[in-house]
């Protein structure tokens, strides 16, 4: 796994010019880049002692180049996933009582597209290796995807999309011969933490549209998530970023709860309590001005 076959063949082909090179006085430090074959003529006198190092390092250079290029491609893939998952989330935010079916259908179709186009590209770039080594490169994208997928599932069914189901959906993307890309538990939990932020936004939005029951469902759901996460987060390795997310998550949960509370308390003041008239909250004058 540390070999660069292309580079090895280059090295063996370049051996003959070295022997024939004139033994001129040379500058001690020279750079042997992949394309600078002409610099071979200016080899230092101490060829024999140096070449073992140079050969080895040529291999290492090949290895590092491959690794860094792979990492860059993975980062790019991850960015694509992030952008398109965010689009799905924005789409779901447009949901309301009236357009629920159509919004969700489009969101789910978009989510499928993210999976088929962008995640499959990520799978191709990783090619079943270095899942843990390159995790920092693709983690943000995967987290965003988890967020979008769980968001859609909740709006559709009111339940949490669990990791197994999510990963089962990813299996067909990988070639059966290689190790399939499976979202690991850390990325899943991090994505879940971001989900509560979106849920908060959704809840506030639904409340201002008068859909109180939906908001209360969101409230219970986010409480459950928060509760479960408090027990899991301390067990995660390197959980400092997760800890800050937990603080944000608590804020979101509080906001949802307090918003629901306010409507609940004030709702009894209106004769149109819990009516399906979406404008019953809008018509109230702002008493705090």
């Amino acid at each position: 796994m540390f070999h660069a076959p292309a580079l090895r063949s280059w090295i063996s082909s370049s051996r003959s010019p070295i022997i024939m090179a004139s033994k001129s006085k040379t500058h001690r430090l020279h750079q042997l880049s992949g394309t600078a074959l002409q610099s071979i003529a200016k080899r230092p006198r101490t060829i024999t002692t140096e070449s073992y190092m140079k050969d080895a390092f040529a291999n290492y250079a090949g290895y590092l180049n491959e690794l860094n290029e792979k990492r860059e491609r993975v980062v790019k893939s991850s960015r694509d996933i992030t952008i398109n998952s965010k689009k799905v989330i924005f789409q779901v935010h447009r949901i309301s009582r009236d357009n629920k079916e159509e919004v969700l259908k489009k969101a789910e179709a978009d989510l499928e597209a993210v999976k088929d186009q962008y995640i499959s590209r990520l799978v191709k770039e990783l090619q079943g290796t270095d899942f843990w080594k390159l995790r920092r490169a693709y983690s943000p994208g995967v987290q965003e995807y988890v967020e979008a997928a769980t968001f859609c599932k909740f709006c559709r069914t009111g339940t949490l999309l669990d990791l197994e189901e999510l990963n089962a959906g990813l299996l067909p993307l990988s070639d059966p011969a290689i190790e399939p890309l499976q979202i690991n538990v850390f990325d899943y939990l991090l994505g879940l933490a971001d989900l509560t932020g979106e849920l908060m936004r959704l809840a506030i939005g639904r409340i201002s549209d008068g859909e109180l029951e939906f908001a209360e469902k969101i409230c219970r759901f986010s409480r459950d998530i928060y509760r479960e996460l408090t027990l899991v987060v301390p067990l995660m390795d390197n959980n400092s970023d997760m800890k800050t997310k937990m603080d944000t998550m608590l804020q979101s949960v509080l906001k949802i709860e307090n918003a629901c509370l306010s409507v609940h308390v004030r709702g009894s003041e209106y004769t149109l309590l819990g009516s399906s008239d979406p404008s019953f909250l809008m018509g109230v004058p702002d008493m705090q001005s």
């Binding site: 750079q31 290492y60 538990v185 201002s208 306010s262 008493m287």
Partner: protein, 303 residues
């Protein structure tokens, strides 16, 4: 209307926030009285003490007393999934502790080796200096074997725990390379390093970046070594070290490094080389360096 919300939210969150937020290091309790809420509350008023936030030793299943009938049964499958997570993470945690235990032992042997090797600055005879460290290499090999065993239990996760033993491995490589150079004057190769540590299995190999960083640590020892050798009267040393470091630096320049830790270490290599060059130059202009004309690099004056 919305501003009324916001005020209400602000009023509610500020005073009670610190009661509710579980500090992940202590055992807080949710205070029921602090949050006035409608019936579907977090904890039913009759048992405030049931909610206890326990730390990781046992995965506690927290069960809220069942509240209003409007609960969906989503929590049941959710709880199961998170229970699974807790179990898996607990296992990973214990694996990690075992790795740390092995790494601590590696670190203590490394420290002993390093201390023995420091005698080389006091110009003790080489064989004497190298005797103890060489004996300890076997101990290291055994420890790395244990590490490999631990990691074998989670196949494919070599890099998951890599950071736990990364820096110790880099130090080990630098010590081995230093010892190899003292003995042979040549650079320890990646494969040779792997051999010495028994890290040449398929699943458990020496990461190339760790090896390269170890080499940079090796070069950090060189300026001091050169200085002390000259002080002890060994005027031959700077030339040899200079040639070695020059070759190493030239080899490193073949790599395309991005701006990471390895790059920083490579930069420190440049400074080490510069320092050794200075020492050599000082000696040369005072004609203290002998026997350096014929076999030296071409740029030296053929005097």
């Amino acid at each position: 209307m919305k501003s009324a919300f916001r005020n209400a939210v602000a009023l509610r969150t500020l005073p009670h926030y610190h009661f509710i937020n579980p500090h992940f290091h202590s055992l807080p309790r949710f205070s029921v009285a602090a949050v006035s809420s409608p019936p579907s509350s977090l904890v039913s008023p009759s048992k405030p003490e049931t909610f206890r936030f326990r730390r990781r030793s046992s995965p506690l299943r927290v069960r809220y007393s069942s509240m209003t009938g409007g609960e969906t049964d989503a929590p049941a499958s959710m709880e199961k999934q998170f229970e699974d997570f807790r179990v898996k993470l607990d296992e990973a945690g214990s694996l990690r502790e075992r790795i740390r235990a092995v790494v601590n032992e590696i670190e203590s042997i490394t420290r002993l080796m390093h201390a023995s090797l420091l005698h080389v600055h006091q110009s003790r005879p080489l064989s004497e200096v190298l005797e103890k460290p060489k004996a300890q290499v076997d101990g290291l090999k055994e420890l790395y074997g244990r590490l490999a065993e631990v990691l074998c239990e989670c196949p494919g996760e070599y890099y998951r725990f890599h950071n736990d033993w990364r820096s110790e491995t880099q130090t080990v490589v630098s010590l081995l390379a230093f010892m190899h150079w003292l003995e042979t004057g040549k650079l320890l190769m990646h494969t040779e390093a792997e051999e010495k540590l028994g890290m040449n299995q398929a699943e458990f190999a020496l990461d190339i970046e760790d090896y390269l960083i170890g080499l940079c640590f090796l070069s950090n020892e060189m300026p001091r070594y050169v200085v002390n050798q000259v002080l002890a009267g060994n005027y031959d040393c700077p030339r040899k070290v200079l040639r070695f470091l020059t070759d190493l630096h030239a080899a490193f320049r073949m790599l395309n490094l991005r701006n990471d830790f390895l790059r920083k270490k490579f930069d420190s290599l440049k400074y080490d080389l510069k320092r050794v060059e200075e020492v050599y130059y000082d000696m040369k202009i005072r004609h203290l360096a002998n026997g350096d004309s014929a076999e030296d690099n071409g740029t030296q004056g053929q005097s």
